[in-house]
């Protein structure tokens, strides 16, 4: 049976992290210090060491997941531990700081760590939500399958419009050629349609969701009295509609795939920024001891 990393082995890492957090909070509340709490007390050093080792280990997941196999558990187990222990860092690091914050490298490391963790939360949410949406959208087909369908429809469309005179043929062919899926980051994530069409007498115009070219075909259909031509036009408009819906699904596929991964472009670079800030933090603490 499929088991998500969230409930891996009965949420083992959830309980371990919970015990870690409650333990840290308990000791923090219980310990009686001769000075305001902070990284410089014995508890501060202890929590700081735990936190730093956690951060390094959590960052190592990026290396671990590239290995096909490891003696130290499955990638799924590692991911589960990564998520839960990573979340526990919020508590560990906050107590380590003793709620002292300021405009300095120490708080910089803390803020970067929080950004990494919260971008990770988005990742968890994305991994729980998007895979199902992906298969719902494509009906289990691959993107290649969908493109092959588009190509097949394109061939049929061209066959229809070849009978409709040069202007119409050129316009439809340009609509097919100048169809765009994806593009830049924003275009991918918003499923933006950057398609264009070379309209007769108008030059290049936007062809969002293939509507302008479809309008042209339908307009032509309403004006023609030629029965055979009307049948070609009707077929072409049906095919263009089907093509538009297929392209929508492909764009949605690109969008979901993008959303499923975009958080990593924050999570990973911020994690390395956080490790760098952690190095600066430790250096700064001990250089001016």
């Amino acid at each position: 049976m499929y088991q998500s990393f969230i409930s891996y082995r009965g949420g083992r890492w959830f309980w371990i992290s919970l015990v870690l957090c409650i333990g840290a909070i308990g000791v923090y509340a219980w310990h009686d210090l001769p000075q305001p709490p902070g990284g410089g007390t014995w508890l501060g050093y202890t929590l700081g060491t735990i936190g730093a080792l956690l951060i390094l280990w959590l960052t190592y997941l990026g290396r671990r997941k590239r290995n096909y196999a490891s003696k130290l558990g499955t990638v799924q187990g590692w991911t589960s531990a990564h998520v839960y222990l990573g979340s526990s860092l919020i508590v560990i690091a906050t107590l380590h700081a003793g709620f002292q914050f300021g405009w300095n490298v120490h708080t910089l490391a803390y803020v970067l760590m929080l950004l990494v963790i919260f971008s990770g939360f988005f990742g968890v949410w994305a991994y729980l939500r998007y895979p199902e949406m992906l298969s719902d959208n494509t009906g289990g087909k691959t993107r290649g399958d969908l493109y092959r369908e588009v190509a097949e429809i394109d061939k049929q469309i061209m066959r229809q419009v070849a009978q409709l005179g040069s202007d119409m043929e050129t316009a439809v062919a340009s609509a097919l050629d100048r169809t765009v899926v994806g593009g830049g980051v924003i275009a991918q994530l918003t499923a933006r349609d950057d398609s264009q069409v070379m309209m007769p007498g108008q030059g290049l115009v936007a062809n969002v969701r293939q509507k302008p070219i479809l309008d042209l075909v339908v307009e032509q259909l309403s004006q023609t009295s030629h029965r055979e031509q009307a049948s070609y036009l009707r077929e072409a408009s049906n095919l263009l509609g089907a093509r538009g819906r297929l392209l929508d699904r492909i764009r949605r596929d690109v969008q979901i795939q993008g959303l499923l991964r975009i958080w990593l472009y924050f999570h990973v670079p911020l994690a390395f920024a956080c490790v760098a800030a952690l190095i600066v933090h430790v250096f700064a603490v001990f250089v001016y001891w």
Binding site: P36, L108, E169, T170, D177, I262, Y265
Partner: protein, 592 residues
Amino acid sequence: MRILIREVRPVAGDTYEHIDSDFEGDVLTIGRATDQSIQLQDRQLALSHSEMSKTGKHLSVRAVGREQLFVNGKRTRASQLQPGDEFEIGAYRFTIRQAPPGYDFAITFEAGELSAQEVAFGSSFRQSLEEAALSKRKLSWTFASLILILFLAIPSIGLFDHERAAQLRATPFVPDDSLWSSGPMHNAHRFIGDNCNACHVVPFVMVRDQECIACHTSTTHHVDPDVHHMAFLEETRCASCHKEHKEPGVLVRRDQGLCGDCHGDLMATATSPLELYDASDFEHHHPEFRLSMLVPRGTALDMEWEVERRRVDEPDLVEQSNLKFPHDVHLDPGGIDGPQGVVRMVCGDCHRAEAGGAYMQPVTMESHCADCHLLTFDPGAPERVLPHGQPDTVVRLLEEFYSRELLWGEAAAPTARSIREARRPGQMQELTAAERAQAVDGARQRALEVAETIFERTTCAICHEVERVDDPARDSPWQVLPVRLQNVWMPKSWFDHASHRTMACTDCHEAETSSSAQDVLMPDIASCRDCHGGGQARNKLISECVDCHVFHLRDTGLMRPDEPGAMLRPVISDLDEIRGDRVYKMTPVKRP
């Protein structure tokens, strides 16, 4: 210009179809992007590759940016074209044709030998974030490098060169070591500004005592290391207790552990037996108060005071001030007879707080007693008073007074007939030697009679212990025993009368029922504990060790920078000078 563009597409086998389109404009663009006049489906190509325009009567082509063209098989960046010329862009081949009527130019183009995959629909789209020029690796390196350079490398420039560090701090928008600060400095240290190196001198070495003592020159030690050698105290740094960069800024340790860690069980850490008792909490683990009692030693003429530490609850505890003073008589609610009538006295008539409010101003005869305790000696001369505190002068003054009385007849009493009065009027001549001797003897006799009364029964004896001394060198055969009133009873602790102002004096000092100056009116620890609890008190004032005691004791030596824990020299602060002998230096005594 108007151009006929014809795309030649293979359909099946050797058949081709033509797709014609018109272009009207000044610049015809060719590239992979959809906004190009001619869009080429080749993902190897640039989004914008070449531009065609009219130069003179001819069509010319020019590569955009760093792209390149092959015109008639030769690599070039720009070229003028004639009908029949060919050029290649990626896998596409363009041919210039003779323009048909109505057109300025005509071009045909077709895809060359591209693999089916390369020209397949969709293959040129950017459909993943990697293709959209995002790179986790590049971003990671950029972020991490930026942080290491800005917050580590640049501030480190000044690490071994404090002048350079100061330059960095003075330069705006340049990161410096102030970014390493873990929190704001305590208000008392703010003047140091962002000069980290004022305290942090050697990298990776904890702040040394000598940096603290450079300013805190008068800080005294906790113990005299010559008497108590304590390795623990010598290893402790100033910053072990005084923590900077904390929020809230607290420089002084107030926790009970500061004292209790050692004083909770002194014998465990002390190297020699001490005249000290274990204490770790005011409410639950604290010995009864001990007073530094002044004890007179010697004779009336040569008296010194020694300090004796006594428990406040010892039954035979008496104050030996050599003064007679019944508090109860003076505080009688019905009043006390004074020269101007009945006087109702309160504590504050004599006991006034010092400027700081902590201790009491000394009580003196002149300021506090003399209004009622007149030093008159002769009912016939009530305006004449004796000087206070000088028995010899008193006797001499009495002799002079009665000599004058005898000689000039100034005596008020009818019994005292002067020699002058006995003479006949007009006979103002020199006294004979016999007469003079008679006058001196008479005056001396009279003075001693009065002095005996004053010293032994009335004026002096009311308040003082007086002894007869046999010393021919002195005018006075009486000696008043010197008086030393206790002023600081508990010099080892700190008490502030000002903060107890809401209470009545008699709440702590049982003066109203005290009939003797020997009574010790100091409260015991139980009476303090009515209000004051220990460090963990719930329903009492939390009173920690440092509320009454200090770590840096004033009667030890200075902390010395180069040799932590060693004595430099005894310190007398300005405060000690003002208080004079009221701070008694204690010599530690070994406990039996």
